[in-house]
């Protein structure tokens, strides 16, 4: 999976109107629940980069009893950059980049079948617990659409991982039987 482009998410949030850094951080964490919360430093660094590239511009300062806060707005070029991003198809899984996958391969390489199997079983337990947790989040009567979408996404991926874990356990067992029979 490719990394999320924070720049484009911020452009999307600014499409609804000017906001300053703190508001952007809050809007990001609210609209993308269960994403890794955005650090303030990252928000300001990203805004500086977007400003440099001419996609956003300062739109006034706000002094609310505290320090100065600069609000940013999209420039004329901003919406075009956002449109291009939204229209770009992401490469579907260009690499199998999963620690889970790497651990199984390495366990089989350096250790033995039992080691790989022990790991898979323990990982399955953790995955199942998380799946249950997210199902509860999603089915809670108070869940918002954003909560449900985020939980759905995570559940679908955990479900896929769990199916892979099971198949792998069976394959590893078959392979072990063949090698040792």
């Amino acid at each position: 999976m490719t990394r999320v482009s924070t720049s484009h998410v911020l452009l999307g949030l600014l499409a609804t109107g000017p906001r300053h850094g703190y508001e952007l951080k809050r809007a990001h964490d609210e609209r993308l629940p269960r994403a890794r919360p955005l650090a303030f430093g990252q928000v300001y660094a990203t805004l500086a980069r977007l400003h440099r590239d001419g996609l956003v511009a300062p739109a006034g300062q706000e002094r609310d009893g505290g320090p100065d806060r600069t609000a940013y707005a999209l420039t004329g070029e901003g919406p075009h950059a956002l449109d291009r991003w939204l229209a770009t198809v992401e490469p579907p899984m260009p690499y199998v980049a999963s620690t889970l996958f790497a651990k199984v391969v390495v366990a089989l390489l350096v250790a033995d079948v039992d080691r790989a199997r022990d790991y898979l079983i323990a990982q399955r337990r953790a995955h199942t617990a998380r799946l249950r947790e997210l199902t509860a989040v999603k089915t809670a009567p108070t869940a918002s659409l954003d909560d449900v979408l985020a939980a759905d996404f995570a559940i679908a991926h955990l479900d896929a991982d769990l199916r892979w874990l099971h198949t792998t356990l069976d394959r590893v067992a078959d392979w072990h039987r063949e090698v040792h029979s």
């Binding site: 022990d118 337990r125 995955h127 199942t128 509860a136 559940i155 955990l158 199916r163």
Partner: protein, 233 residues
Amino acid sequence: MTYLQARGVVRAYGRTPALRGVTLDVAEGEIVAVTGPSGCGRSTLLHCLAGILRPDAGQVTWRGERIDGWSEAARSRLRRTEFGVLFQFGQLVAELTAAENVALPLLLAGTGRREARTAALTWLERLGVAEVADVRPGEMSGGQQQRCATARALVTEPRVLFADEPTGALDTLAGEQVLTHLVRLARDQHTTVVLVTHEPRVAGYADREVMLRDGVVDHSGLGLDASLPGGHR
């Protein structure tokens, strides 16, 4: 006291063993998912627990009483009153409307027509399908049919609901609506649920998962905490 229990349950179809000594405890009010690969015996176990099939050996007890030795009539009565059963395909009666289908178990149990219809409408409403009350199954979507079947399984307010792949024939969203309603209502009513599924995401609705493999509970660590009831949220 364990609520629902299987002890060394064995069951074969002809010479093909399906269950080879399953021991399982289910606590009252618990939602347990029974999972495992195809042919592992999970449906057969559900049928034995629900009193639909008699085990060849072993015991099934419910609230401390052995039910595996009961006559067909006694087990059938148990399924009409205390147990609810839900299958992959709702098995609604095609000639009856949704409300008539849901009222059916109550009418069989001797409830008056008007009272049965009122209860049926209440349950259809709870399952979010009040709008199809006077519609026949043939004119409903698969999701609506399965929600009606769930209403029918719950209308008698059973103590235990047995659900065998209840969303197996539905798309993701329709299946999710069935499960969300089923689990929410079961928790509200403190109904115990035994949910058979092969899908991890469906098992995610349960408090606990028990995995079968080749007709026995998998204790390798895969069959998560199978012997100990509990794990309620």
